[in-house]
């Protein structure tokens, strides 16, 4: 289960994620990112309520990052320790901006 809450103001968007970002839910985030990203200069992903991430989720983050590198910036906030460890072992700490 994944709940995504979206807010956009002056070209700055925030997606708050709640639940699990896995094989089944990653396509939902991918769709939301695709719909939201055009015209954004800054994208924030709030991970405060995200408990779980697998490689399917990482792939969506990677492609969002690649896109935002072209048009502005992207950052992740409130990443919990278990999710952070996944970013560490996969080298994602170096390609994502984790606030």
């Amino acid at each position: 289960m994944l709940n995504i809450t979206k807010t956009i103001e002056d070209g700055r968007g925030t997606l708050s994620l709640e639940g699990r970002l896995d094989t089944m839910t990653a396509p939902e985030l991918e769709q939301v990112v695709r719909d939201t990203i055009p015209g954004l200069t800054a994208l924030t992903l709030d991970f405060a309520k995200l408990d779980y991430i697998s490689s399917a989720g990482l792939r969506v983050l990677l492609s969002a990052q690649k896109q935002m590198n072209k048009q502005g910036s992207m950052k992740l906030t409130n990443v919990n320790e278990t999710v952070l460890e996944i970013f560490e072992v996969t080298g994602f700490v170096d390609i994502l901006t984790i606030a």
Partner: protein
């Protein structure tokens, strides 16, 4: 033929008694002397009996009062021929029926006592058997009641038990359905106790032997191939020395004050638990599948409650709510359950009535369908065989969670195990059978000291070693990084050990993590 003998038989009337008896028994067989009204017998009378016995070696004396029994015992007659004592006569007219089993019915005869009346009128051997097995069970740690007296009830025999202020679980469920979960918990606790009790060799009948007999019987009523498969499935169940109750349902579990007691012990046996689950399935579901009123008459609660009780009990017994796992074990139980129901119905002339034929046809069609898709009657509660499709991931992870529940697994380690399971399962779903769909078997083992989780994945798909693939370069920038290979790489990083082998046509991947 039963002939009464009465009053006193001694030297004054022995000749006359003998003459009368000889006149009655000429040409008769299966001779029984009913001594209920016999007050005294002297040696002259005993000689008459000896002479009759010469021509009728099957002769028995029944209903012997204690004075006469003492004479027969002193003179060696009780060893030489069957002599049955007179039994206290008990009436069950108007008595409350509190239990009903395969071999008899249990009535409450007063506040503190119940009597089990046996269906078979020649029940003395059965009573003796039940008494012995109940004693055995008690010694092995099963809380049960042991009969203290044998009585005569009409033409049958009964054994009397003390059962103070007790209520069956069937009655509790019927009257207080809100106690369902508590009943399930106690019912399963007792079931696990029974199944964890090891029985010394040779003390109880082997259920496997009995079931081999059913399978043999069924060969005449099933298509050849199905009959052979059934026999092979039963034969493949290994011998097991653990106890089975044999007729475990809610009328055979009593609550006495705060103590839960198991009763109706005559079906006690040893064997694999699938035999027990089969008989439980029949009690709650199988018998009533076509006519839902049967369960109401039998247990006093309705079909819906029976179904719920069975499902919850099975889930608690296996320690899982995973629908695939529950269906797997239930289907195995149903194979033996239907086998038993069909055999029973045919032996009770079910093929001669319309209802009987409908029931047999229904059970048979279910049985044939199950036989077609089953390759073993064994089950392992730590193993889940499931279709390898991403949609089943949630169910698989829930199953993993249940297996980890009893451990002190920290949330972080649990999430890492979940990630590894997801990556491998999705890998199998994507590649093993593509474009077809196949099954994966996932086995979760938790070992103590040090606490360690081992998860094994087995599929029959194309040989594929996910570990052979080169690790992605995790130092590259976002632009340079591809999207492949991350899942298996993460699994290797998060687990202590990941091993692959291809063996007997199977991909076997094993991951291990200390927690």
């Amino acid at each position: 033929m039963i002939i009464p003998i009465k009053g006193r038989i001694d030297s004054t009337n022995a000749a006359q008694v003998e003459q009368e008896l000889q006149a009655q028994i000429a040409g008769q067989t299966d001779l029984v002397l009913d001594a209920q009204a016999l007050d005294y017998i002297s040696s002259a009378g005993l000689r008459v009996i000896l002479r009759i016995r010469k021509e009728h070696p099957e002769l028995r004396i029944v209903g012997v009062n204690s004075d006469v029994y003492e004479i027969l015992d002193m003179t060696g007659f009780t060893e030489m021929m069957p002599v049955e004592k007179a039994y206290r006569v008990v009436s069950v007219d108007g008595a409350e029926e509190i239990g009903r089993g395969a071999n008899g019915t249990i009535y409450r005869i007063d506040k503190d006592n119940v009597v089990k009346v046996y269906n078979n009128p020649e029940a003395l051997a059965d009573i003796q058997h039940e008494r012995e097995v109940a004693k055995l069970a008690l010694i092995l740690g099963i809380p049960t009641a042991i009969s203290y007296d044998v009585v005569k009830v009409g033409d049958s025999y009964g054994s009397v038990f003390e059962l103070l202020n007790a209520r069956s679980f069937a009655k509790i469920l019927a009257r207080e359905p809100e106690k369902l979960d508590w009943c399930v918990e106690e019912f399963v606790k007792m079931l696990k106790l029974i199944h964890s009790t090891e029985v010394p060799a040779g003390k109880l009948p082997d259920m496997r032997e009995t079931a081999l007999g059913w399978a043999k019987y069924m060969k005449d009523y099933l298509p050849e191939e199905a009959g052979e498969k059934l026999a092979a499935l039963v034969a493949a169940i290994p011998h097991d020395d653990h106890m089975l109750h044999g007729d475990y349902h809610t009328k055979n579990l009593e609550l006495q004050n705060d103590e839960v007691l198991l009763i109706d012990m005559d079906t006690l046996a040893v064997g694999h638990p699938i035999f027990e689950l089969a008989s439980m399935y029949n009690s709650f579901i199988g018998f009533s599948e076509l006519d839902h009123d049967i369960i109401l008459k039998f247990q006093g609660f309705d079909w819906q409650l029976a179904t719920t009780f069975w499902r919850k009990s099975l889930a608690a017994y296996l320690g899982t709510n995973c629908p695939t796992k529950l269906r797997e074990v239930e289907d195995k139980a149903r194979i033996l359950g239907y086998t038993r129901l069909i055999r029973r119905a045919i032996r009770r002339k079910g093929l001669e009535t319309e209802t009987g034929r409908a029931e047999i046809a229904h059970w048979k069609s279910e049985l044939l369908e199950l036989l077609d898709k089953t390759d073993t009657l064994l089950f392992d509660k730590n193993e889940l065989k499931i279709e390898a499709v991403p949609e089943n991931l949630e169910e698989l992870l829930a199953f993993l969670g249940e297996r980890l529940e009893a451990t002190d697994c920290a949330p972080k380690a649990r999430m890492q195990l979940e990630v590894a399971v997801e990556e491998i399962f999705v890998n199998i779903a994507s590649y093993a059978y593509s474009p077809e769909i196949g099954k994966a078997t996932v086995r979760v083992e938790v070992s103590d000291d040090p606490l360690c989780v081992t998860i094994t994945f087995i599929d029959h798909g194309v040989p594929y070693d996910p570990l052979a693939k080169e690790d992605p370069d995790v130092t590259l920038s976002a632009e340079e990084r591809g999207i492949g290979g991350l899942g298996i790489f993460m699994t290797k990083q998060l687990m202590d050990d990941v091993v692959y082998e291809y063996k007997d046509g199977k991909n076997i991947l094993r991951i291990k993590k200390s927690i």
